[in-house]
Amino acid sequence: MTERTVWTILILAMIAMAFSRTMFDPSQSAGREYVKQVDGEWVKADLIDRNAGIAEVSYDRTAGLWIAAVFTLCIFSFMYRDNPFYKVAESTVVGVSAAYYMVVGFWSTLVPNLFAKLMPGVIQQWAMPGLSPEIEPTGIYYIVPLILGIMLLMRLVPSMSWISLWPLAFIIGTTAGLRMIAYLEADFLSQIENSFVPLIVFTETGIDYWQSFQNTFMIVSILSCLVYFFFSIEHKGAVAGVSKFGIWILMMTFGAMFGMTVMGRIALLAIRLEFLFREWMNIRPY
C-alpha cells in the first residue's frame, strides 16, 4: 500500500516535471520537435533555423519524441523490477518490430527478389515502376525458391506438414556446405597463414628479442588454446598443463574483451541518457 503510494507520487512527480519542463523551458525546445522545409522535404530544424524563423513545431514528430522517451523510461523501469510499464513497452516493441520485419521481408525480399523475377510485368504495374517488364532468361529459375517456399508453408496443413522438412533440409544443407568453404578459406587457411611469423626475428643488428618473444608467445598461445579445444584427448598429464595454459590465455582474452564491451555498453547508455536529457527535456549542463 505504502509502496504503491510512493510510486504513484514519484510517477506523478515525473510527469509533472516533464510537463513543466516542456511548458517553461526558456528556449522552448524541451519536449518539442521543430522542422523546416528544404526542397519540399520536411527535415529536422535546429536552433539557428528557429532563430531564423523558418522552423515550426511538428506535432507528429513531437508525439514520436514523447513516445520514444516514455518507452525508454519504461524499459529503464525494468531495473527496479518487472512492471506493467515495462510490459507495455516490451509488447509494443515486440509487436511493432515483428510486424515491421514482416513488412520489410515482404517488400524487400519477396517482391523484388521473387515476384519481380517471376512476373516482372505485374510487379512493374503494381509495385516497382522502374522495373523492366521483360522476364530475364534466368528468371524462370526463381520458380525453385517459390516451390521451396510453398513447401515450407505446408507446415500449416497438419496432414502435409512433413513436406516442410524438405526445404528446411535444403536450407540447412546448403548453408552448411556454403559455410564450410567460406570457413575453410577465411578462418582456416588464412588464419594459419597469418600466424606464420618468425619465432626468432633477425635484424641487421642481431636478434630483436622483444619481437621474438612476442611472436613465440603468440604461437605458443595459439597452439595451447588449440590443445584445449582438442577433444580426442582427455586433459591429463602434460596435456592438462598445456590446455591449462591455453585456458589462461583465453581468460586473459576474455578479460580484455569484457572491458572493451562494457565500455561500449556504457557508451550506449550514455547515448540513451543524452537523448532523454538533451533531445527530449533540453537539459544541458552548459
Partner: protein, 607 residues
C-alpha cells in the same frame, strides 16, 4: 512402559530378531561401567508353525538366563522387570528384521533429486527399498503401474517437488500409485501406509487422488528446497508407521511391542544409529559394513553426513550366485592364489545358493568364499559411493576463476582418504578363522587410503546398541567401545599408482614398538601392535603417491594396534589386481604370505 531414570538402570536386555535367528544380549553395570556380559541365540519364530516372534525371543533370553544364572522370565514366559537381586532386568529393547525387514517403495519426481532424497530417508530409517518410481525412470506409466502392482511393499514413501515447486508431477505419481492399489505384504488385514513427504502445496490434490484403501499421512518435505534435505520427519514417520502398522500385523509383534521399553527399530536403522552416534561423539568419519546372506548393508558417516545403502542382491549365501554373476568369475578368481576349476566352482556357488546354510569345510573352499566376499564388498561399496553424494540440482555460485573447473553437483562424499574407522560385521567377516583374513578382505574390498583403523563387530551387537543409544546413550557408548568392537589394527596405504620396483613409501614407527624401513610398490607388510598399544607412525611417500597430505608429503599420526597390528600397504590405489595390467597371482600369493592369511603350506605353495 515404566520410566526409569538412566542412573538406576543396571541390567539391560536387548534382542535383535533377525530373519533366521533371534540374538539376545545382556548388559550389566559392573563397577560403574556398562559391560556386555552374556549372549544367547535361538531360531526366530515368526513363521509357521510357531508364528509368534516372542517364543524365539523368550528362548534366546532363556539361554542368557541359563548362562548368567539369572531368572529373567516368569512362569508365563514374560520378562521380569525391574531387576531385583538375581531376577529380571531393568529395561528391555529390541530391533527387528524378521520377515525380510521393512520393505518400502519410494517415489519422487526426479530420480537423482527428490526420489534420491526419499530413498535416503527410507534407507536411513532401515528399510529395504524395493523400487523407486520417478518421472524420469524411463519407464512408461503403465510399466510403472505394473511394477507397483507386482511389488508388495510394507509401506510407500512419496516425495517430489520442492515446497511451492511442481504439483503436476507429484499428482501424476499419485495418479499412478492410487489406481494400482498396492497390496501390503502381510495380507489385507491393514491398509497400506503411504507417507507423503513432497511439495506441501500438492498435498490437498494428492489427498484427493487416494481413496480410503490406503493409510495416507503427510510429513514435512524431504527436499523443501533443492539445496537442502530434511529427512528427519520422514524417517520418524517411517519408524512410527513401522511399529503401528507393519510390525503390529506380524505374528506376535503386538506382544513384543508391549514388552519393549523403547520403540522397536528396524535392525539396519539401529546399526546406522549407533554408527552415527559414535562418529558424532568421536568426531571421526566411519564406514560400517554388514555382509549378510542375501544383502550387504553399507553405512557411512562422513563429516556428519549419514548414508546407508542396501545392496539387495550382494550376499554370501542366498545371493552368492548373483555376486558371481555381477562380479564375473575372473574378477573373483583374481583374489585366489591357488588353482581352482572354474566349472566346478560355478556348480559349488549354485549349490551354496540352494543350500545357503552350509559353511566352508576345506581351506580351498574358504579361500574361494573369501574371494567372493571381497567382490561382494567391493561392489556394495561401489554402489554406496555412487549413492552417497552431495545434493544434485543445486545452483552453483561461481566466479570467473571457477570457469575451468566446472564441477557439477552429485559428487560422492565418500572419501577413502578421510576415512578413520572401518567396521566389519556379518558372517564371512566376523567368523573368519583368522583376524588377518578379515583385515585383508576389508583392505582389498574397501581400499582405504591414508591411516584407517579396522575393527569388527564381535558378536554383531551394533543393532542392540543402536536402540540402546536412544534410551541410554552413555551405556550404549561404553559397551560399544569396550565390548562391541574388536580392533584389528590400522591400515596405512598411499593413494596413486606406485612405480614398479620403486619404494612406495618409507615408514618410521616409534612408541610402544619401534621400527623403520621401506615398503616397495606392491608390497604388503604387517607389523604386530597389540590392541592396547599405541605407536607414532611417520610415512614419507614416493613423490607420485599421496598419504593424506598431498603427493610426496610425509604424514605422521598416532595409530592404535589390534589383533592384526599395523598393515603397511604399498600396493597403491586404486588397487588393480588381475587382468593384464593388475597385480599377478604371484603378487597375491606374496600378500597371503605377508599377512600369514592361510596356514596350509601345501596350498600356499601349490601355485
Amino acid at each position: 512402559m515404566p520410566v526409569i531414570s538412566p542412573d538406576e538402570i543396571n541390567v539391560i536386555l536387548a534382542t535383535d530378531c533377525g530373519s533366521t535367528t533371534t540374538k539376545a544380549i545382556m548388559i550389566e553395570k559392573i563397577d560403574g561401567h556398562y559391560r556386555q556380559t552374556y549372549r544367547g541365540e535361538a531360531p526366530t519364530t515368526v513363521e509357521e508353525p510357531a508364528a509368534n516372534v516372542t517364543i524365539g525371543v523368550a528362548n534366546a533370553i532363556a539361554e542368557i538366563g541359563e548362562l548368567a544364572g539369572r531368572k529373567l522370565l516368569d512362569e508365563n514366559n514374560e520378562i521380569i522387570r525391574p531387576a531385583r537381586g538375581n531376577e529380571g532386568c531393568d529395561i528391555y529393547i529390541s530391533t527387528s528384521s524378521a520377515g525380510g525387514g521393512l520393505q518400502m517403495l519410494v517415489s519422487g519426481v526426479v530420480r537423482e533429486m527428490t526420489a534420491a532424497s526419499a530413498k535416503r530417508a527410507a534407507l536411513g530409517a532401515g528399510a529395504i527399498v524395493l523400487d523407486i518410481i520417478a518421472s524420469n525412470d524411463k519407464r512408461k506409466p503403465y510399466e510403472q503401474i505394473q511394477r507397483i502392482r507386482e511389488l508388495r511393499p510394507d509401506m510407500i514413501l512419496m516425495a517430489g517437488g520442492t515446497d511451492g515447486g511442481t504439483e503436476k508431477h507429484v499428482v501424476q505419481l499419485a495418479e499412478l500409485i492410487a489406481p494400482a492399489k498396492p497390496q501390503p505384504r502381510f495380507g489385507s488385514e491393514y491398509r497400506m501406509p503411504v507417507i507423503f513427504a513432497g511439495n506441501k502445496e500438492a498435498w490437498p490434490m494428492v489427498r484427493d487422488t487416494f481413496d480410503d484403501s490406503v493409510e495416507l499421512s503427510q510429513v514435512e518435505n524431504v527436499r523443501p528446497i533443492l539445496d537442502r534435505e530434511n529427512l528427519g520427519p520422514a524417517r520418524d514417520m517411517i519408524h512410527d508407521l513401522f511399529l503401528e502398522h507393519v510390525m503390529a500385523h506380524a505374528p506376535g509383534y503386538d506382544k513384543l511391542i508391549a514388552w519393549t521399553d523403547a520403540p522397536i527399530m528396524p535392525t539396519p536403522g539401529a546399526v546406522g544409529n549407533i554408527l552415527k552416534t559414535i562418529a558424532e561423539k568421536s568426531g571421526i568419519n566411519a564406514v560400517g559394513v554388514d555382509i549378510g546372506g542375501a544383502t550387504t548393508d553399507v553405512f557411512s558417516v562422513f563429516d556428519g553426513e549419514f548414508n546407508r545403502t542396501v545392496s539387495a542382491n550382494l550376499g554370501m549365501s542366498y545371493s552368492i550366485s548373483n555376486v558371481c554373476a555381477e562380479a564375473t568369475m575372473p574378477n573373483i578368481l583374481r583374489w585366489v592364489h591357488v588353482d581352482m576349476d572354474e566349472r566346478e566352482l560355478r556348480n559349488r556357488v549354485k549349490n551354496k545358493m540352494i543350500r545357503p546354510t552350509t559353511i566352508p569345510q576345506s581351506l580351498e573352499a574358504l579361500i574361494f568364499e573369501q574371494a567372493v566376499s571381497r567382490e561382494a564388498l567391493r561392489l556394495a561399496y561401489l554402489q554406496h559411493k555412487e549413492f552417497a553424494t552431495t545434493l544434485k540440482g543445486v545452483q552453483q555460485q561461481r566466479t570467473v576463476g571457477d570457469l575451468f573447473t566446472q564441477d557439477s553437483g552429485g559428487n560422492s562424499i565418500v572419501d577413502n582418504m578421510k576415512l578413520d574407522l572401518l567396521v566389519a560385521s556379518g558372517g564371512v567377516l566376523s567368523h573368519a578363522p583368522r583376524m588377518e583374513q578379515t583385515a585383508a578382505m576389508l583392505i582389498d574390498a574397501f581400499e582405504p587410503e591414508g591411516f584407517t583403523r579396522l575393527a569388527k563387530d564381535s558378536i554383531f551387537m551394533m543393532p542392540h546398541l543402536g536402540v540402546l543409544a536412544q534410551v541410554h546413550p552413555q551405556a550404549a557408548l561404553e559397551v560399544f567401545e569396550r565390548d562391541c568392537l574388536i580392533y584389528l589394527g590400522t591400515c596405512i596405504a598411499t593413494a596413486g599408482k606406485p612405480v614398479p620396483n620403486k619404494v612406495a613409501f618409507e615408514y618410521r614407527i616409534t612408541g610402544d614398538i619401534t621400527a623403520q624401513g621401506e615398503i616397495l610398490a606392491g608390497e604388503l607388510k604387517r607389523i604386530p601392535l597389540a590392541a592396547d598399544q599405541e605407536a607414532r607412525v611417520s610415512i614419507t611417500p614416493h613423490r607420485k603417491l599421496d598419504a593424506g597430505n598431498g603427493k610426496g608429503q610425509s604424514v605422521e599420526k598416532t595409530v592404535h594396534g589390534g589383533t592384526v597390528g599395523i598393515i603397511l600397504d604399498g600396493r597403491g590405489r586404486p588397487l588393480l589386481v588381475g587382468g593384464e595390467t593388475g597385480y599377478s597371482r604371484q603378487d597375491v600369493s606374496q600378500w597371503v604370505e605377508a599377512l600369514n592369511l592361510y596356514e596350509n603350506e601345501s596350498l600356499v605353495s601349490s601355485k
